[in-house]
Point group: none
Chain length 457, copies 2
């Protein structure tokens, strides 16, 4: 093990430069103009995996290609097999004017590396690749068979992944998936995440008149779709922060006393957190702590509003239509399809006859929960202790990793969520960054993890 | 008077050809590339006024020049003086591909004349000039002194007009302004417009967290500015279409029974109007007809909504901020500054402490009302009856004509609004047109008007 850690220390700077090269590729999966970048990015990471001794292929899917990279030519009989999952696609970088440096020109400042995709997710899965390189090149070797599955559609709902998993079911059969795509409270608190929220998305469009109307000539005679939208959406949440869609909380599994105690161990200060967010005040569902609200309670968010004139000055119109993008975060045992169905019928019931309503449901992902008492979970906790030299905490994550459900459903495998991003990594936001200590500890974790997991199998 | 009407009949075709010549000049005030055309157009109409016996000058302003043309060398003592207002500038013609013939190559089809500026406003004030020509050349003469004020910045907000009015205050002192720049319900319904709505604009921005946040990581712990904005704006209107800003209706002068009866005479079908707007249903303040809602009742409209991600697909964020552009249409005796003050304090009171609110007030314009019982208004109604040979209707207009307030404020003069445009004249739109019967009746109106007004002074 010492060889491995020495190798990591020796090659630290090269590792960082390689990550920077990877981050330069603007692999935005949501925007069709970045199609060639997606191909280039998949090619780059496959070729890099080959350089460190893996067998790697770029595999086409119905959408963006996926990359499979294996440490073996043929599986060793009786040897445990784990799959490390990551995604090379990134969120759209907009709004560009809020970035202090261009999102695809990585910039080091102190111990931070700023770039779109730095923590979500290139930096995190790249750490695992570097750990494997260290195990192999230092001569220590690996006590397990490993496959890297790095997809290109995570930020657009992993549309092609289920079919891909079914197609590669045999090659991907494994003890568990290892995923570093979540966060930790801080460098002092490495963490195993045992539960994730699910997600359900919808887009609501209200249409009134067939075209924008002069607000002087016609104003007063016809409903304003933007105001109708506000009045519709306003009814979805009560003053206590509760979602008012009928039956919304019906399937929510209540937190146990044990869970609430464990979640309470995670270091947190409401005052510091408020300052970090820059919000005038924290706000959420009455009767729950901030940590519980963020991870163990469902939410409804407006992600975007669009209507009428948005330019400089004013334009005196009644806009023809108004649109809102919504996402709901779900917790065990809520089902995205049920929740969307309730939302749609609730909105249709509330919608006034003065506008037409159109609701498109978007991507959905089930919430996830794995017992923290599982032997593999316990082994992961030991590896965390070794890599960070700190007692790890047990966490729930507020974000969604829908593929964790696909792994469970299609391959029957649980996922060990060993996130490396700090709370201020600003994933999905301008100035996304990855702390280089996280990168280094992550590589060490990758090295410590495989012997621990091998023993637990 | 018969001489005058004979002269008009005899010279009808020449009048049309002259108007066509006027319409060929692409006097688009908003586009700097048309600067030379603006000069040419002002020169053309001044020179034309001189040809028919007026003393005309092109007068520079800080923006586009204005034209003053007088029927007199020196004012006759004791003789009433009226000012006819018009504007030689026109709206931009874009989108050009929607025009059936080029906007500055006037085309006659049936009794319609198609060209940018045909009804707004060249055709309308040119009718008054032709009426004056007929009075002077037929030997009938004029019982009043007349000044034509034809400006070149109406379509860009008449920026230089207030200063111009102050500078020419003495020459423009008059009994009233006569303005033909509005519409009539149809050729069977000549109209005097006696009231206009005012306007007040505001832009509201709510800010929550200092940046867009990942809705999975932080969702539940902090308010969503887009939802907060919806909940705030939703409270501005009740289910009966009433604005709920305290005191909003306090200064609204109620419609008299006479006014409601007169407004009811204007031909209108809710079903046909709904089809024309393409809206699923009409909606407005309970207890008022559609015509009253559009012209005699105040409104609050959202003109635009902006928040978060508006592109393709979805982006799972809590947006940092959300913004709405609002305009309110005001009626006598509401004051824009009072209304904005009430709105601002109401919004501040309603705004939750979880977001910061910023309110910018925009442009404002006072509503306008001239009593239809005023002797000059009654005289105008008689002239309409004579020129159209139909009983005229009394109208209110839902839009704003800010210059009418300038005339009132700076010169203390009321305005007689004697519009000539049909509802399908498509002012500001492609295929703008002017009905040649409106042109002819308009010339007759110009001829009948001055004796009636002279008698009423």
């Amino acid at each position: 093990m010492q060889n491995v850690l020495d190798y990591i220390r020796t090659h630290r700077e090269r590792f960082e430069n390689e990550l920077i090269e990877y981050l330069r590729i603007p692999s935005v999966s949501a925007q069709s103009s970045h199609q060639p970048d997606m191909q280039a990015c998949a090619g780059w990471i496959a070729s890099h995996a080959r350089q460190i001794g893996l067998r790697a292929d770029v595999i086409p899917t119905a959408g963006h290609p996926a990359v499979l990279a294996r440490t073996f030519t043929r599986r060793t009989l009786g040897r445990p097999h784990f799959v490390v999952y990551g995604h090379y696609d990134v969120q759209p970088p907009e709004p560009l004017d809020l970035w202090k440096s261009p999102p695809f020109e990585p910039r080091r400042a102190g111990r931070r590396l700023y770039a779109r995709g730095a923590s979500d997710n290139k930096g995190q899965h790249f750490a695992h690749l570097k750990a494997v390189e260290a195990c192999l090149r230092s001569g220590a070797g690996l006590p397990v068979d490993l496959t890297f599955l790095i997809e290109g559609e995570e930020e657009v709902g992993s549309r092609s992944l289920p079919a891909f998993l079914r197609q590669h079911r045999r090659e991907l059969r494994c003890e568990a998936f290892v995923i570093s795509d979540t966060g930790i409270p801080g460098l002092q608190h490495p963490a195993l995440t045992y539960a994730l929220r699910g997600i359900a998305a919808a887009e609501i469009t209200l249409t009134g008149p067939s075209r924008d109307l002069h607000s002087g000539i016609h104003g007063g005679a016809v409903d304003n779709p933007a105001l109708a939208l506000c009045q519709l959406l306003a009814q979805l949440r009560d003053p206590h922060g509760r979602i008012t869609v009928p039956g919304f909380y019906k399937d929510v599994r209540p937190l146990t006393a044990y869970e609430r105690r464990e979640l309470d161990r995670i270091p947190h200060s409401d005052a510091a957190y408020r300052r970090f967010l820059g919000a005038p005040r924290l706000f959420g569902e009455h009767g729950f702590t901030t940590s519980e609200r963020r991870t163990a309670r469902p939410t409804l968010e407006i992600n975007g509003l669009t209507s009428g004139y948005q330019g400089q000055g004013s334009k005196t119109i009644i806009p023809s239509w108004a649109r809102a993008k919504l996402t709901l975060r779900l917790v065990p045992d809520q089902r995205p399809s049920h929740v969307i169905r309730s939302l749609v019928s609730h909105l249709r019931r509330l919608c006034p006859p003065t506008v037409r309503i159109e609701i498109k449901s978007g991507h959905g992902g089930e919430p996830y929960c794995m017992s923290p008492r599982h032997p593999l979970a316990q082994a992961a906790l030991r590896a965390l202790q070794a890599a960070f030299n700190r007692p790890p905490v047990l966490m729930r994550e507020g974000g969604s990793i829908p593929i964790v459900n696909d792994f469970k459903r299609i391959l029957g495998a649980d996922s060990l969520l060993l996130g490396l991003a700090l709370p201020d990594a600003d994933a999905h936001a301008p100035n996304e960054n990855f702390h280089l200590d996280c990168f280094e500890r992550g590589i060490a974790l990758g090295a410590c993890l495989w012997p621990e997991l091998a023993r637990a199998c």
